[in-house]
């Protein structure tokens, strides 16, 4: 039998038993939908986390801080030393201290972070409103949402506004606090979303060169290639730094998410097994119902393999339709669930998110999987059909 004939005859067979096929497909769809719903929830959660951190550069960056013992401090000299370690591309130091921000008539206490222009890229975060620093920027500032809220203004409105800064520096020898009023005004160019953080503002080191800063609290060390990470890291540890890397965290998070996806997937697979047993049952009933037809077809020239393929075709198409139905059900269900969650989130003052993520490859995989399950479920009834004695089948009532 030609494949195109097989399709044609199978569809005619399916059409004549619409309601039964509908329910079998529905059962299949629910199972497939459950798998899709659960696994894409796993994907969605993972993506929500990773989307916030991953720039490629941030994955090649090590965070260092001097260990508590006063063995080494992060000053210009050590920064130079670090940048000479083979494999290191650049070093980006960070210092922070209290500062007062004045906007219009209001003044507030915040933490001022002095950073290089590429600091955000290296850290993997970026302002969600407005933009990141450019190399050519002068006297620009990026603030976080809690800093914005100090001035009773929305983040969008705050963009482009100018603020004034007064920095408090503690003299390390005397312990005396000195005030440095910065004469220049700073323009807000970006707002970082950081839930639950204290008010923070970020200004480029280059804008405040005159401040007497002797050492930095942190530095980001960007490594050229992934293979050199380990070596550089060991070198930094031997110099007396505490080293951490974003890539470690992400790797661990990914591991956890993989486990979550597998566990969610297993729940779905259980549902799929139930649906597959249902399909075997349907096909067996079909076999009994069609016994006479099998006899007729054998009498007019069908080979056992023709009969087998007619049955397999039916179960495969049922599986395939179940896969399509499952994707529709899964996506609809996910959207409904997401919508409810977001209503809840809004009511509680949270931010709206997309909890689900449907990678295209996974959708393809689901369709293949359901088709395959259809094939497997149809296998035994089809083999039985092919093995029927044609004359007995012909006389079967």
């Amino acid at each position: 039998m030609k494949v195109i004939d097989l399709f044609h005859l199978t569809f005619e067979n399916l059409k004549s038993r619409k309601s039964r096929i509908l329910f079998t497909v529905l059962g299949f769809s629910v199972a497939i939908g459950t798998i899709l719903f659960l696994v894409s929830l796993g994907f969605g959660l993972q993506r929500n986390l990773l989307q916030r951190v991953t720039t490629e550069e941030s994955l090649l960056t090590l965070d260092i801080a001097p260990a508590e013992s006063e063995v080494i401090s992060l000053n210009e000299e050590t920064l130079k030393k670090i940048s000479k370690i083979p494999g290191v591309e650049k070093v980006s130091p960070q210092a922070f201290f209290p500062a007062q921000v004045t906007f219009k008539e209001i003044s507030s206490q915040t933490t001022l972070n002095l950073v290089t222009y590429d600091w955000f890229r290296l850290s993997g975060f970026a302002p969600t409103i407005g933009r990141d620093f450019k190399k050519s920027d002068r006297h620009k500032v990026i603030v976080n949402t809690s800093a914005v809220s100090l001035f009773n203004i929305s983040p969008e409105e705050f963009l482009g506004k100018e603020i004034k800064l007064t920095v408090f520096l503690t003299d390390e020898e005397t312990g005396e606090v000195k005030f440095f009023g910065i004469p220049e005004k700073f323009e807000v160019i970006g707002v970082l979303e950081e839930a639950g953080a204290s008010p923070q503002i970020y200004v480029r080191l280059a804008d405040l060169k005159d401040l007497p800063i002797k050492e930095y609290q942190f530095a980001k060390v960007k490594v050229r290639r992934n293979e050199e990470m380990k070596e550089v890291r060991e070198k930094l540890i031997s110099m007396g730094f505490l080293v951490s890397a974003l890539s470690d965290t992400i790797e661990q998070a990914n591991k956890i998410f993989r486990i979550i996806q597998v566990v969610l997937g297993i729940f779905g697979v259980v549902a799929l097994v139930v649906a597959a047993i249902g399909l075997v049952n349907t096909m067996t009933i079909t076999l009994l119902e069609r016994t006479n037809e099998i006899g007729i077809m054998r009498a007019i020239g069908a080979s056992p393999s023709d009969v087998k393929w007619l049955f397999l075709g039916e179960s495969v198409i049922t599986g395939f339709l179940g896969g399509i139905g499952g994707i529709i059900l899964g996506i609809l269900g996910a959207h409904a669930f997401n919508w409810l969650i977001n209503i809840l989130a809004r009511a509680l003052g949270g931010k709206e998110i997309d909890l689900f993520y449907f990678p295209f490859w996974f959708i393809l995989f689901i369709i293949l999987l359901s088709t395959l399950v259809g094939l497997v479920a149809g296998f035994f009834p089809a083999r039985r059909a092919a093995k029927l004695n044609p004359l007995k089948a012909l006389r079967y009532k």
Partner: protein, 423 residues
Amino acid sequence: MEPIVKLENVSVVYDLGKSNETWALKEVSLEIYPQEYVIFFGPSGCGKSTLLYVVAGLEIPTQGRVIVDGKDLKSLSKKELIEFHRSTIGMIFQAFYLIPTFNVKDNILLPQIFRKTSFSEREKKVRALMERFGIENLAFRKPSHLSGGQQQRVAIARALINDPPIILADEPTGNLDSKNAQIVLDLLEELNEKDKKTIIHVTHNPADLHRAHRVFHMKDGKIIRITRNPEKKAPVGFKEKISELERLAQLYPWLPETRLQAKLILNHFLFPYGRDVLSKLELIIDEYLSGKISQEEMFRKFDAPEEEGGVNLYTQKAKELAEKVARLAQEIKLAQKEEPAPTPLQQKVVEIRAYLLDDYQGKLSFEQVKRLEEVLAKRISGEIGKEAFREFLDRPFKEGGVGLNRRTAKRFAEKVEIILMRG
């Protein structure tokens, strides 16, 4: 001319060797010639359909040879047998047997679909057939929306689409009213005459018989008589001598066999009696032949006066006639190859064999059953001992044994010993 269908000693046995053993066909031999229209005729259960399915290659005979279109069906591989179904045989059934889920056109096309023919080729064929049978306007209807006559025409179109030389029709008019039955029978005749198809038609309706060249009358799994239709010219090159009895049967196709024999005997004597005497004699001889009365009673009836229901022949004449009838009847009996009554040993063998096989799950071939009976006879008569008996059952079939597996052989041997001990 070579026959297109040839059966040699074909038997079909169900539940072989068990006590419910049934012989659907018993040593049937026949020859059917190309372009012949033959009918298998007989009451239900006579084996006529089984015979048809043997020719179709769907029923595998327990023994005997089936040669169709030059092929010995037993020697065909599975693949060749399927090809044989596709190319040589077209089947028509009593209940039409269309596939209810497919429309008319797909139903007709099915044999072509299984044969993987090209779309353009099959399209041409299906169009021509639908036009020929006047069903082109029904092409996209489902069989359930068709009348019986229409359905059977679709089925005939389906049987023809692969252009097989042989058409097998199993009671094709059984589910039709008389008008549609006529149409279908006319079609079959047309296929035979115009399309030069060999037709094998199974029926229990005597009204169909005149359509065929030859009729095979069947009873209890045997062909009891072959009649030829004098009205129809047999296909070219086909000749067969007809016996006296057959000729008579063609003249009186409705009569039971013994009546025909009675007629034959009477014709033999060319009785100079009147019509009523003749028919009386005929009835008495019929009674004798069917075993209702003895030779002595027959003689007395010939002799008795008319008032007592006799024929009132002269005593001498009556005696002579009764003797002649008895002698001729004996000859007829001999000709029919009456099987000799089984001996007590044979009876016992058959009894034990059936007892053993009744709760045996496997299936034995005809030869295996024969060998089992032989060795049982030897064991019962004490010719061989218990061990030798068991060994023979166990021995592979190719090495001359029955070919049972070890455990079954042991079980059978033990059972037989118990039966023998009880006597």
